[in-house]
């Protein structure tokens, strides 16, 4: 017992005990062993002109600091339709936040600030939602019922999101399996958060009310890779409709993860599909770690109900501490509270996620529920302890701590003290039960932090401000007639054309199939060549350059038409599109001039080979045929582009050189 406790060592040991491995090293077998299960909720904004329940323009964003007026609201929990309160609602009420909305005339009317009842649902949005629902083979409802989904975090000024189920029970194809869809709803987007500090949270209302669809899958994904694949397929399907918004923030996903013995945890606001794999991977191990902690605690404490932390005002002198957060707290006149957690030794520094321990779970909840900005606590298993030996001793005496206990010291203003103590006790009690039901916020490094308690079906309430809207059979049939080609068929088509697989993603993500089919049909170009042009060349151009105005892909069809008409060979396409992409408004004639194209006959071009050969003999360092071939091609490429296929030129060069050698 005299051996000094090393938190770092404990972190490493516990990580091994959990069996954490890097995602790259994990196999489907590892996930199967854990009982990994994951489902997705994909949010996708619809490309409508106006918002969902009012006539404000959709899709205009302001700078976060740009606003005309502010207003303030508080949220109170209300009963659900089934007569119960929702857990999240009660938690959010406890946090007592002042919620401030920044509004701008251009994008906000009296509806967004909840001073006018909703107008009739935007028919354009409803039509798009039905279309995408049909693409996922769902059962379309007979009548749309607008429901209020409570959100007490303030992200919607009404305190609820108006949402309605359009279809249920569908499926989407993954490469090796089908994933089932629970439902698709059409709903209004929420506010954008500006800041959340202490008891004040600020939102801007520009995004509020933009129509979006939410597609929810069953937890059919059994590995992080499948989660990512499903995310991509859903995106392809949404985009194949041509009716959705693209760009930053227009598509967001929430992902649910559970493992055997764990519980459903929802990670919210994942803005990039490629992040899904790492996030779900880490979450699975976080749950595993919590289960290990549960096992340890239950071994130490036989009757968890009797487990009780103690809280004491820190009465001894710590005024010479240089640690800034504590200095600041003392300057503000805040109280410091010491807390003893019986039998919790080794738990606070127990591995949770890469670089994070169980103490971070407490810190996260203190921030969200008790509104205490981080860092808001320190503890006996800190990697860099703040208290000196003397203080530690005093703390132990104050709390009458046992050898197997752990201690926390936190600081808070008087009014948040009670909530903070309740929060710590509550979270520690949950450790005896395993994995708490919660929603967590995704961070860029693949880890997550506590966001709020997971809401249930209890937060739903019928919208008494709007009447149900029937969706008759003929309306559905009308939409069905105009559906785009199904994703599976599109992939089959690409395979049939022998298009390299690494082109699929780009083509489907940008919904280019209709355009490609159009070009092939009108201009008789090789499908494989064209798709490769899009999937490799255009993708590369997009990554390299910034367009001065939004680039419309249909310009490529016009350019190909122009080249064909002027009998300019398509070999020049990469060069002209590079320029066109940067200057979508430039005239085609100017582009051709700019890249210095001049018409030349094949014969003339080929005639240069002999003189270039002579020149190479004089100046070339290497005498190999291959370097000579490359050099000549390099010299002739600029004049050959648009005038003859490069392959043909290369063949002529090779023939000449072979003849010369002999």
């Amino acid at each position: 017992m005299n051996k000094k406790f090393d938190p770092k060592q404990n972190y490493e040991t516990s990580m091994k005990r959990v069996g954490y491995i890097e995602r790259e090293k994990a196999t489907p077998k590892d996930y199967a062993k854990m009982g990994f299960k994951s489902g997705l909720e994909v949010h996708q904004q619809l490309n409508t002109k106006e918002k969902l329940f009012c006539r404000c323009p959709a899709g205009i964003y302001q700078d976060l600091q740009d606003y005309d007026a502010e207003l303030i609201r508080h949220m109170r929990p209300t009963l659900s339709e089934m007569g119960t309160y929702d857990g999240t609602a009660l938690m959010e009420f406890r946090t007592k936040k002042n919620i401030i909305y920044r509004i701008k005339n251009e994008t906000t009317c009296t509806y967004e600030i909840d001073d006018t009842p909703p107008f009739k649902i935007n028919p354009e949005a409803l039509k798009y939602a039905i279309e995408i629902s049909l693409l996922m083979h769902q059962n379309i409802v007979g009548e749309l019922h607008i429901t209020r989904k409570q959100y007490l975090d303030g992200s919607i000024p009404t305190g609820f999101q108006r949402t309605a189920i359009v279809g249920i029970e569908g499926e989407i194809p993954l490469e090796h399996k089908k994933v089932r869809i629970i439902q698709l709803s059409v709903e209004e987007d929420s506010c954008r958060e500006v800041s959340d500090i202490g008891h004040e949270r600020i939102y801007t209302t520009d995004r509020l009310g933009i129509p979006l669809i939410e597609t929810v899958t069953y937890p059919d994904m059994l590995t992080p890779d499948e989660v990512m694949e499903a995310g991509q397929v859903l995106r392809f399907i949404n985009r194949s409709s041509g009716k959705v918004r693209v760009g930053i923030g227009s598509g967001r996903q929430d992902v649910n993860v559970s493992i055997t013995g764990g519980t459903r945890v929802e990670i919210k606001g994942v803005s990039h599909i490629k992040w899904l794999a790492k996030l779900t991977h880490i979450e699975a191990f976080r749950q595993k770690a919590l289960l290990e902690i549960k096992e340890t605690l239950l071994k130490r404490v036989s009757v968890p109900e009797k487990w009780q932390p103690t809280f004491k005002h820190l009465s001894f002198d710590i005024s010479d501490i240089e640690y800034f957060p504590i200095k600041q707290a003392m300057n503000k006149g805040w109280k410091l509270i010491a807390c003893n957690l019986p039998e919790f030794k080794g738990i606070l520094s127990f591995f949770m996620q890469p670089g994070k321990t169980f103490a971070d779970e407490l810190e996260g909840r203190l921030k969200v529920i008790a509104c205490l900005e981080r860092p808001n606590m320190m503890h006996s298993e800190d990697m860099n302890p703040v208290f000196n030996k003397d203080m530690l001793k005093k703390r132990s005496t104050l709390l009458q701590s046992g050898d197997n206990d752990a201690q926390i010291v936190f600081w808070a203003p008087e009014e948040d003290m009670k909530t903070a103590m309740e929060t710590i006790e509550e979270r520690c009690r949950m450790a005896f039960e395993g994995v708490p039901n919660e929603t967590r916020k995704a961070l860029i490094d693949g880890t997550t932090i506590f966001e709020r308690v997971l809401p249930g079906a209890d937060r739903m309430y019928p919208d008494t401000d709007s009447a149900p809207i029937p969706i008759p059979d003929d309306e559905i049939e009308g939409i069905r007639q105009e559906l785009p080609v199904e994703l599976e068929k599109r992939i089959a088509q690409l395979k049939k054309w022998n298009v390299p697989e690494d082109c699929f993603h780009y083509i489907l993500r940008n919904d280019l199939m209709p355009l490609i089919e159009n070009i092939i049909h009108e201009q008789k170009v090789s499908p494989k060549w064209l798709c490769t042009f899009f999937g490799h060349t255009l993708k590369h151009i997009e990554g390299q350059y910034q367009p001065s105005k939004p680039f419309n892909y249909s310009l490529i069809l016009n350019m190909i038409k122009y080249l064909q008409k002027n009998t300019i060979h398509l070999t020049i396409l990469p060069d002209v599109i590079t320029t066109l992409y940067q200057h979508p408004q430039m005239e085609f004639d100017s582009i051709i001039k700019l890249i210095k194209y001049s018409p030349k006959s094949e014969k003339e071009i080929v005639s240069h080979i002999s003189s270039l050969h002579k020149m190479f003999m004089e100046i070339g360092f290497s005498k190999s045929t291959k370097s000579e071939h490359n050099w000549i091609m390099g010299q002739l490429r600029p004049i050959a582009l648009g005038n003859m296929p490069l392959k043909k030129l290369s063949k002529s060069v090779a023939e000449y050189l072979t003849a010369e050698e002999q």
């Binding site: 609201r73 508080h74 339709e81 007569g83 001073d115 059962n139 409802v141 009404t158 249920i168 739903m460």
Partner: protein, 460 residues
């Protein structure tokens, strides 16, 4: 008999009966559009008769077209009991006692499946369950006098309310709160201002613009403000207590005779017209704006005058109004008329003979202004002078609705035109003011740079 098919009728009812599936049952429904599982909910009577409402496991509701149903089966039953948790309202010795009268409206409410709208919840226990803060303010008693929507409040209710309030004051209550729908809140406020005179305690009317079944409702804060006013305010008058700005910041206390609902849906819909409000109120208490008001007293000497003549009319004048509008009032035995005239108080020439006829018949006609702000000034133009000689009596700066209520109240007491005139033109509760403060009229125009600058600085 218990209705097991709540709200369903026609085709939908037939289908439910055919498959023997009740409301609140957990059902499996097969349709031509696929299968749907969930709990069958009651249906609003106003909705069509060919859809069945289903609550899915995710909590969402959807409607099923009965024409697509091919089979249906009841597999369980789960009835919802929508009830605000009732907790006994705690009694704290030394706290002021406040009486809350319920008239209907949305101060606290729950879902009504019959109409799909909300119905009020009211007992002290329910209110305490929903707004526990009330217990820190006062000891609350409640009494449900009526359960009517605001638009159905009328003379009968005004009189009963006045009498009930009088009784409470005589019993020694410290303050009165009246929960009321907002549409005609200012009519009731005016009526009570005339029917209850010399009150020793505050009488506070309150409502909500967003029903209390939504998290952002103004109901709870309005109720907190109103009970704070009733319990602690020194202003012993009939007041309307509603949001000042749309923000959850402070409430305004408006004098019952100078207040009007000015927006169909805004939280800050009630405004004092032709004057400044009496005070602001927050959770911390009341801060007076106007120094002159009736102070709270210890005595119980209240005067209750519950009178009202119902055959009176308020005419909103418009160009081209035909005289038969007024003749029909005369023919139907109306006892008094208030006109909301244009500008300074005008109507067109063709109405003159009809107005003269009123004079002959002894029907008093009072003139108010539809501009709402400002006084009737009938000497400025000849037309005004003509009207007055025809018997129209200018009602100073009384608001049209207030003049209407006051005329009903005056005629309820006497048929003598002169006595009515005396009652009408003697200010009773700020209904007519001697002067209009320059800062009473402040309808600022949005878009003007200095206004925009101001709006940006304060919480709207």
């Amino acid at each position: 008999m218990i209705d097991i098919f709540k709200g369903y009728r026609g085709k939908a009812l037939e289908i439910l009966k055919k498959y023997n599936v009740r409301v609140w049952s957990d059902a499996e429904i097969k349709t031509t559009r696929g299968s749907f599982n969930g709990i069958i909910l009651p249906r609003s009577e106003n909705d069509d008769d060919w859809h069945i409402v289903l609550k899915l496991a995710t909590g969402y509701n959807v409607g099923i077209d009965v024409n697509t149903i091919t089979d249906m089966k009841e597999i369980g039953y789960k009835e919802a009991h929508y009830k605000i948790p009732e907790k006994k309202f705690p009694y704290t010795k030394g706290k002021p006692s406040v009486k809350l009268f319920g008239t209907g409206g949305t101060i606290a409410s729950r879902l009504d499946y019959r109409t799909g709208a909300v119905i009020p919840a009211f007992s002290p226990g329910e209110l305490y369950g929903a707004v526990p803060e009330l217990a820190n303010i006062c000891n609350l008693q409640t009494e449900k006098l009526f359960a009517v929507f605001s638009e159905n409040m009328g003379p009968d209710q005004y009189k009963k309310l006045a009498v009930a309030i009088g009784k409470e004051i005589e019993k020694g209550i410290d303050g009165i709160v009246i929960g009321h729908g907002t549409d005609t809140l200012h009519h009731t406020a005016a009526a009570l201002s005339f029917m209850i005179q010399n009150s020793p305690v505050p009488i506070v009317l309150v409502g909500s613009q967003r029903s209390s079944d939504r998290p952002s409702s103004d109901a709870a804060l309005n109720l907190i403000h109103a009970t704070t006013t009733a319990a602690t305010s020194d202003i012993a008058e009939v007041l309307v207590c509603m949001f000042g700005p749309t923000s959850d910041e402070y409430g305004l206390l408006h004098r019952g005779t100078r207040v009007r609902k000015m927006h169909s849906s805004y939280r800050s819909t009630f405004r004092t017209i032709g004057d400044v409000p009496l005070a602001t109120v927050t959770r911390d208490g009341v801060q007076p704006i106007k120094p002159e008001y009736n102070h709270r007293r210890k005595d119980k000497k209240v005067k209750i005058l519950p009178y009202f003549e119902e055959k009176i009319a308020l005419l909103y004048y418009y160009p081209n109004m035909q005289p038969d509008m007024i003749y029909s009032l005369i023919d139907n035995d109306y006892k008094g008329i208030v006109i909301a005239g244009t500008g300074l108080g005008h109507v067109n020439k063709p109405l003159y003979p009809a107005i003269r006829k009123c004079k002959e018949k002894g029907i008093p006609v009072y003139m108010t202004v539809q501009t709402l702000w400002g006084y009737v000034h009938m000497f400025v133009y000849d037309t005004g002078r003509d009207l007055m000689s025809d018997g129209i009596i200018p009602a100073e700066n009384m608001l049209p609705e207030v003049a209407y209520v006051k005329l009903g109240w005056a005629l309820g007491q006497t048929g003598d035109s002169e006595k009515v005139k005396e009652l009408m033109l003697t200010p009773i509760a700020g209904d007519i003011t001697k002067r209009e403060p320059y800062n009473g009229y402040l309808v600022y125009q949005g878009g003007i740079p200095e206004v925009e600058e101001f709006i940006k600085k304060v919480h709207k």
